[in-house]
């Protein structure tokens, strides 16, 4: 699992800023202006939430090398915590509830991350499953979390930041976009700082890292905490901005695997990888369903679609692991450097 150098370029490389800035401009202006309701509701909103979850998981699994199979549980913690903070404390601004919810997710993350101090690899992965099952059970079993709703469902409140209300699909889109942009920037700052280097050091050679003075215990727990915080907020976005009503079953093992797939396909140990992966994961079922009904007509019902999705997704994972283990981010980077050498600028150091 080698890291991609693009994120590790030393010092600001002027041309490297062009793409993210351009994308942000498009995201903030063109998409909401020209995008259809369908594009925003069904594509952009889940894309944003899943990308953020991917960014979070990547910090833990990609950079710090701690495999986690329970990320959906932390999304659930975030969503339900935000709901409860917002619902039970009068006058608490929503954005504060969201941040506090992230904090709760971080705390839970540290608790379930403690085994990483003793366990590695498969064993750690198995222990993260404990988080997945336990959290889902707890949220379903104890009605308090969902304000005693019989099915454990929670409804999203009105969205606002600092008094500005975000309503309608475009409003929710902006809400999500602002939060995703801010947290992604934060994650990028961490990843390119000494903390991020400590993550990679612990991943690549824990013994050497310990010996040269990297605080291994603190680093691992910090990875779990930061990652769970971000994933928790992603869960809030999933629940509040996208689905609007959500239940514990929506944060099941399949969802955890989905986020893991996102970062594998997108590129481990990169920030942009989460976005590439989420884009593919969100878009491909739509594409598949169009192709399927085009080719097979009526035979292609939802059951067939579901199963075909599973097959294609699994096959994609295997294909990426074999052919391009560094994911779409690596493919993108190769394309980018080819474009740059054609344009004539010096190739990246």
């Amino acid at each position: 699992m080698a890291a991609i150098t693009a994120d590790r370029a030393d010092g600001p490389d002027a041309l490297a800023w062009v793409a993210p800035v351009a994308i942000l401009i498009v995201a903030f202006t063109i998409v909401p202006l020209l995008g259809s309701n369908y594009l925003i509701e069904a594509i952009m909103l889940p894309f944003l939430a899943l990308s953020l979850a991917g960014v979070g998981l990547n910090l833990l699994t990609g950079y710090a090398g701690q495999v986690s199979l329970g990320s959906a549980a932390f999304m659930a913690v975030g969503a339900f915590a935000a709901f409860n903070f917002n619902f039970r404390i009068d006058g608490l601004p929503l954005i504060v509830s969201v941040m506090l919810a992230g904090g709760v997710a971080a705390a839970v993350g540290i608790v379930f991350g403690l085994p990483s101090l003793r366990l590695k690899g498969f064993y750690l992965a198995v222990s993260t499953l404990a988080a997945q099952f336990f959290v889902q059970w707890a949220l379903t079993k104890f009605g308090w979390f969902s304000n005693y709703n019989p099915s454990g469902v929670i409804d999203a409140p009105a969205l606002s930041i600092a008094g500005i209300v975000f309503e309608g699909s475009v409003g929710r889109y902006y809400f999500a976009l602002i939060i995703v942009t801010a947290l992604t920037f934060f994650a990028w700052r961490v990843a390119t700082s000494q903390t991020g280097r400590n993550f990679i050091a612990v991943r690549d050679n824990e013994t050497a890292a310990k010996f040269i003075g990297v605080p291994v215990l603190k680093t691992k727990l910090l990875a779990f905490a930061l990652s769970s915080f971000i994933i928790g907020v992603a869960g809030v976005l999933w629940a509040f901005a996208y689905l609007r009503t959500v239940e514990p079953a929506g944060f099941n093992l399949d969802r955890s695997f989905q986020i893991l797939f996102i970062i594998i396909i997108g590129g481990l140990a990169t920030i942009r990888g989460a976005f590439f992966g989420a884009a593919l994961i969100v878009v491909f079922p739509v594409v598949l369903s169009r192709i399927g009904s085009f080719l097979l007509g009526d035979m292609f019902d939802s059951g067939v679609l579901d199963m075909s999705e599973r097959i294609v997704l699994g096959a994609l994972i295997i294909a990426f692991l074999i052919l391009e283990p560094d994911g779409l981010a690596a493919l993108g980077r190769r394309l980018w450097s080819r474009i740059r050498t054609k344009v004539g600028s010096p190739s990246e150091a």
Binding site: D10, V190, S193, R197, D204, V214
Partner: protein
């Protein structure tokens, strides 16, 4: 913060005046209780001493009653045939193995086991036999990581770009760049460490160990797998390191020719025991050493391989 100005001679013989930027004062000579140790005034006082170290794995004896002393600023080699216990010894010194008995005296303080996570702060640095680079980091980042022990900024400070965090980062970067210059690695500083050829990776590991300006540098087979030219270069770097930084160097190595030319004193291990200890000339002539390398077993040996 200490400033340091050094002259050094490049490999081609020319002398240059190089200013090495400030490095954080290494909190050396500190015991576990935080007291300052008495300064080392006598040249003969060892900077590191192993007293009667024994270590075994299961039933296999790795080290048996090994005592060793290392004087400040010397280049000390530890040699011996395969399985003699050299790596075990280095791992004991770096705190990765706990000896079954015996103690380690570092700067006048005794340890039953060196705390590996505090090794850097105690002034120890090392390279590893099987390379322990962080393959996912660039060369520069690997070397900067050698200063991780001196970092005090938190992740928040770093993420927000607070002045303290930025200064630490700048200092580390400067220091790392200087060391890369010293080892002629500037050309590859932005390449992923895992993408370099073997010989260069070894040099990067040396850089990472050196950047902390350690008091004691442990080199575990630094020339393994190198060509003759690369070995000469590495020997040159090792010599220069001692000349310029005054680092005490403990060297595990197979290539006896290199060792003879490079070291001040040599200890010879065989089957976990020290069989000779002295200057290169003394060791070369020692019958016990010759026997060990020719594989002549002694009566009281277990004959176990490690």
């Amino acid at each position: 913060m200490l400033d340091a100005h050094y002259t050094f001679s490049a490999l081609d013989g020319s002398t240059a005046f190089r200013e090495f930027p400030s490095i954080p004062a290494r909190p050396q000579q500190r015991s576990l209780t935080g007291d300052r140790a008495p300064p080392i005034s006598l040249v003969d006082e060892p900077v590191l001493a192993l007293d009667d170290i024994s270590l075994s794995f299961g039933g296999v004896i790795a080290l048996a009653n090994v005592s060793l002393s290392i004087r400040p600023g010397e280049i000390r080699a530890i040699i011996g045939p395969n399985g003699a216990g050299k790596s075990s010894l280095v791992n004991v010194i770096s705190g990765l193995y706990r000896p079954d008995s015996g103690s380690i005296r570092l700067n006048g303080y005794a340890f039953s086991r060196i705390p590996a996570s505090r090794a850097a702060r105690l002034g120890l640095a090392r390279t590893f036999q099987n390379l322990a680079l962080f393959k996912g980091l660039t060369v520069l980042e690997n070397v900067m990581s050698g200063l991780a022990f001196a970092r005090h900024s938190t992740f928040i400070g770093q993420a927000l770009g607070l002045p303290w965090a930025r200064r630490e980062d700048r200092d580390a970067r400067q220091r790392a760049t200087a060391i890369l210059g010293f080892l002629h690695l500037e050309a590859v500083s932005h390449r992923l460490a895992g993408s370099l050829p073997y010989g260069l990776q070894k040099r990067v590991e040396l850089a990472r160990a050196l950047v902390a300006n350690p008091e004691i540098l442990l080199l575990d087979e630094p020339m393994a797998g190198m060509t003759a030219t690369e070995k000469q270069e590495m020997a040159g770097f090792i010599r220069r390191t001692r000349e310029i930084y005054g680092t005490t160097i403990i060297l595990i190595e197979h290539d006896i020719g290199v060792v003879m030319g490079l070291s001040d004193r040599i200890a010879v291990l065989d089957y976990g025991r020290k069989v000779a200890d002295g200057t290169p000339a003394e060791v070369r002539a020692d019958q016990a050493v010759i026997d060990a390398y020719l594989g002549i077993a002694r009566d009281d040996d277990h004959g176990d391989d490690i």
